[in-house]
Symmetry: C2
Subunit: 192 residues, 2 copies
Amino acid sequence: MSHMGYSCLMALDRDHVLRSAATLLTRKSTATMDEVARAAGISRATLHRHFAGRDALVRALEALGIEECEAALDAARLDEGPATDAVHRLVREIEPAAGLLAFLYTENQLFEGEVQNQGWTRLDDRIAALFRRGQQTGEFRIDLTPAWLTEALYGLLASAAWAVSEGRVARKDFTHMIVELLLGGARRREES
Amino acid sequence: MSHMGYSCLMALDRDHVLRSAATLLTRKSTATMDEVARAAGISRATLHRHFAGRDALVRALEALGIEECEAALDAARLDEGPATDAVHRLVREIEPAAGLLAFLYTENQLFEGEVQNQGWTRLDDRIAALFRRGQQTGEFRIDLTPAWLTEALYGLLASAAWAVSEGRVARKDFTHMIVELLLGGARRREES
DNA sequence: CCCATGTGAGACATCTTTGTCTCACAGCGG
DNA sequence: CCGCTGTGAGACAAAGATGTCTCACATGGG
């Protein structure tokens, strides 16, 4: 059966292409289809055989980003233990996807009018639920809304991804910087 | 003298065009020159008479953004009083420019290779200096570098600007949300 | 009134990107 | 060896944005 060989190879290639595209577009969000193809080591024709067009590619990247985020959220076990620890696990798990996430986050600013991908709202809800849980257990303050904390998390992830890629901060500090700022803020804690 | 009438009108128009463009590009960063012109109530030809091309327009917007930030930093008197209060004043003063800033912040991610506008590094330095001062006075923790805090401030400003423009958070909470998260974090303070 | 200046409308060529198509070639299985 | 499949290279037209130019018009000052 040629079908099996076909679909397997295509699937592998498709995933490889997708990840190459993610890496490239993370750095240069305006990269052309030709550049994307070149970065994946294939020709533009073959790239078009995988993804009908640029829109399809971006939507596939969106699906990949959502998928990786969902996986990160699952791995972080947001429902278990103190919300504080859950946030820490979340950031640690989501770090590898931060670059892609930053690309999609800014990309989505253009889709203002269009339909919001259901996957994002689902992610938003899961993350916001974590913050809400932290508020209910008394770990988090209640004057900052879960929606804002979720948005802020995205912003910090994007900022940190860019800052790391430009060498302004060390990659190894990624999780620590985000978690500490998000949870603890810049103000020095009083010794208790 | 036709020169005076000319330059005065042009200067007024130019500023008006620039602010219209800022408003539009803040919402839709890929707006076309024609849309920019239409938004400013002028024709594409006239827009071209003010700004040689799209690059020139973006660079003028960059200059405007830098100028407004500098003004905000001046108005915030970063050197006076507790650093905590200075951060608060800074965010309050910079709020009107947050949308433009968000546009330029993401736009700058594309200029990775090119020369970094000296104006940005100057702003970065002034803001980082504020955080460093706060660390020296013992107000701020020292395990978060001034560079990261500066970057995080940009990220939070952009996130908040987008969240407000999409109605996910209330505009009146803008300053409070950013300042409280940046300084205090999400974790609830122990009652002292 | 007349003219200079700035403007709007639109035509136009150019450039870039995109999407489609064709053709030749390499690899692999039968 | 033959044929099938996927690929690369390139040509091609279409679309969109940009930059330039011309021309008619309005307006305001001399």
